[in-house]
């Protein structure tokens, strides 16, 4: 898996608190501080740990020369995204599974249960109210798993990023592998993002 993003500042948790300057805030803008205490890094800490364990295991055993490409082939050709719709991009997400673009051609079949998914396509605005649930859903997905931030709202809050209730980018909550720009992206652009992710899975080394 690639390193999530450049926007992640590793020294400081890039959660809601990390967005603000140091020091006490003026009383008026206090209201705009996101109000939910989110343990932003739960999933984020879990991933590197799991990756480290896996890498050391592989290094000890040294057997994956042959198996890895096979599993990478399987993994990239059968990405099951989570079936959920957040906002506008969900409609284009649905259109991509409609007859004209037919994402099933690539083996992409949406599943309703996070337990059966490998891919979370965050297709819309993430609000602080749904942030908990998003992290829960992400943690319910079994490894290996990927996240695609589809559209500008998931990438960085989009037109609503100044609003009091919107998470400015889903990479504040879960690690993101591929960003798709667009507002909303065309279904083709979404398929392009999935192909890009397949490329990343093909190239991954761990």
């Amino acid at each position: 898996m690639t390193t999530p993003t450049a926007s992640v500042a590793p020294a400081k948790p890039p959660g809601p608190e990390g967005l603000r300057p140091e020091g006490p805030l003026p009383t008026v803008t206090q209201a705009a501080v996101p109000f939910i205490e989110i343990e932003t890094l739960r999933a984020r800490e879990f991933l590197p740990a799991a990756r480290e364990a896996l890498t050391s295991l592989i290094a000890e055993q040294g057997q994956t020369k042959v198996i890895r490409p096979v599993f990478n082939w399987a993994g990239r050709n059968s990405l099951f995204p989570l079936h959920w719709g957040l906002a506008c991009c969900a409609i284009e997400f649905a259109a991509a599974f409609g007859g004209r673009w037919d994402a099933e051609r690539f083996g992409v079949v949406p599943r309703s249960s996070p337990r059966q998914c490998d891919l979370m396509i965050v297709n819309g605005t993430v609000t602080w109210k749904v942030a908990h649930k998003l992290i829960t859903l992400y943690e319910q997905m079994p490894e290996p798993k990927w996240v695609i931030a589809m559209g500008n709202c998931a990438t960085g809050g989009g037109p609503f990023r100044t609003a009091y209730s919107v998470v400015p980018g889903v990479d504040k909550l879960v690690p993101v592998d591929v960003y798709i720009a667009g507002c909303p992206p065309r279904p083709e652009a979404m398929l392009d993002g999935i192909l890009k992710l397949e490329q990343l899975i093909r190239e991954r080394k761990e």
Binding site: C88, R100, P159
Partner: protein, 381 residues
């Protein structure tokens, strides 16, 4: 099994968006429901107070993402009232064109989601396929499939390209043929009728008391359609009927929506013919450039506004695909709207959920909520 509460949502195939239906069940029977909204609350009304009048349009498209044009139209009407402007006639017809095609697209989206809810698999794809044709038309003159940014205060951005009307006629012909197939797939099936008849009944007086509007209200037999009752844009110059059904159940809502699509096709044929015959400007002439052209100036905006526009308020309503949407725009003379308040039809339709869900089975929730046609974007705003 004793009584228990289950959460349907926010990630649930039934919701078609982000909301949570808390259901109290006893076995398979529904005892109580409590819709929980706000998972997609983006503060559109607050952001609007921070934007210029034309810049709010970008939010309107994303407010209700299946009926962007209707909400653009709604906001633009109110803003024009608040600023005291009037669009040229061709712009009015173009707005009707947008609205009615949007109604078809929205109802097709509803059809796709609704049949998926009752387990029909292929019509979902037929609906999406035919909706894409309408979106192709939108793209050909606005440049986008869903978020159009097409209407402007005082008119619309640009005229339709040459050859558009012919293509529109082709699509309308194709769609009228498909509506027959849709009916065959749904109404022609005994299972569909068994599933949907006498389901989710909400009688007319309950509809009125709980503020339910749109196809749900018309399915209860009340002939109320703002396009007829308080015609806006060019609707008073167009012929169409209001689709009404009697039985107030899921089948009736299906019938009303299908009939509305047929009526929209009828309206669109007239509009397309009119557009062919009457070329003209699409943007009001003497517009100060920061309203006419879509960009914000710097410096002295306050001066400009005070010079051109006094304070004012705008209140208008349009018949959105989901029902009756209203917008209230307060112009206090500043460069941004002082307050923008929207009334979402689905907001009221969902708030009456207890009236039409309690007493049915858990398996009935998807068809009933599907027949309500939930668009969470406009509920939460």
């Amino acid at each position: 099994m004793s009584e228990m509460w289950i959460n349907m949502g926010p990630q649930h195939p039934m919701t078609h968006g982000l909301w949570n239906l808390r259901v109290k069940i006893d076995g398979e029977m529904i005892l109580d429901v409590d819709p929980e909204m706000g998972y997609l609350h983006r503060g559109i009304e607050k952001i609007s107070e921070d934007r210029h009048y034309n810049e709010v349009i970008t939010l309107m498209d994303r407010c209700c993402y299946v009926a962007g044009f209707a909400w653009e139209h709604l906001y633009i009407q109110s803003a024009e009232q608040a600023l005291g402007l009037r669009p040229p006639e061709r712009a009015e017809y173009l707005r009707v064109l947008c609205d009615e095609f949007q109604r078809i697209a929205s109802h097709l989206m509803w059809y796709a989601a609704f049949v998926q809810d009752i387990g029909l698999m292929s019509p979902f794809l037929y609906g999406m396929r035919d909706r894409d044709l309408v979106l192709d038309l939108f793209q050909s003159y606005t440049g986008a499939r869903m978020t159009y940014e097409y209407m402007r205060v005082g008119g619309v951005r640009n005229d339709v390209p040459p050859g558009f009307t012919d293509q529109a006629r082709k699509v309308l012909d194709w769609l009228s043929d498909r509506f027959v197939e849709y009916d065959q797939l749904c109404l022609g099936s005994t299972i569909f009728r068994e599933r949907c008849d006498d389901l989710g009944t909400l009688k007319a007086n309950d509809c009125v008391a709980h503020g339910v509007t749109g196809p749900m209200l018309r399915a209860a037999g009340l002939k109320r359609d703002l396009r007829k009752d308080r015609p806006y844009a060019a609707y008073d110059r167009l012929e169409f009927d209001v689709a009404v059904a009697d039985s107030a159940d899921v089948t009736a809502r299906y019938l009303v929506r299908m009939e509305e699509m047929r009526q929209s096709v009828r309206i669109l044929r007239q509009v397309v013919d009119w557009l062919d015959r009457h070329p003209g400007p699409v943007l009001a002439e003497r517009l100060p450039r920061w309203l006419g052209a879509p960009y914000a100036p710097i410096g002295n905006e306050g001066y400009l506004l005070k010079r051109h526009y006094a304070k004012g308020v705008g209140f208008s309503a349009v018949e959105e695909p989901h029902g009756e949407a209203q917008a209230y725009v307060v112009n206090d003379g500043g460069e941004h709207p002082y307050r923008v308040k929207f009334r979402s039809p689905v907001f009221a339709n969902i708030s009456a959920a207890r009236q039409y869900l309690v007493g049915y089975h858990v398996a009935d929730i998807p068809p009933i909520m599907g027949s309500v046609d939930v668009c969470v974007g406009e509920v939460d705003r």
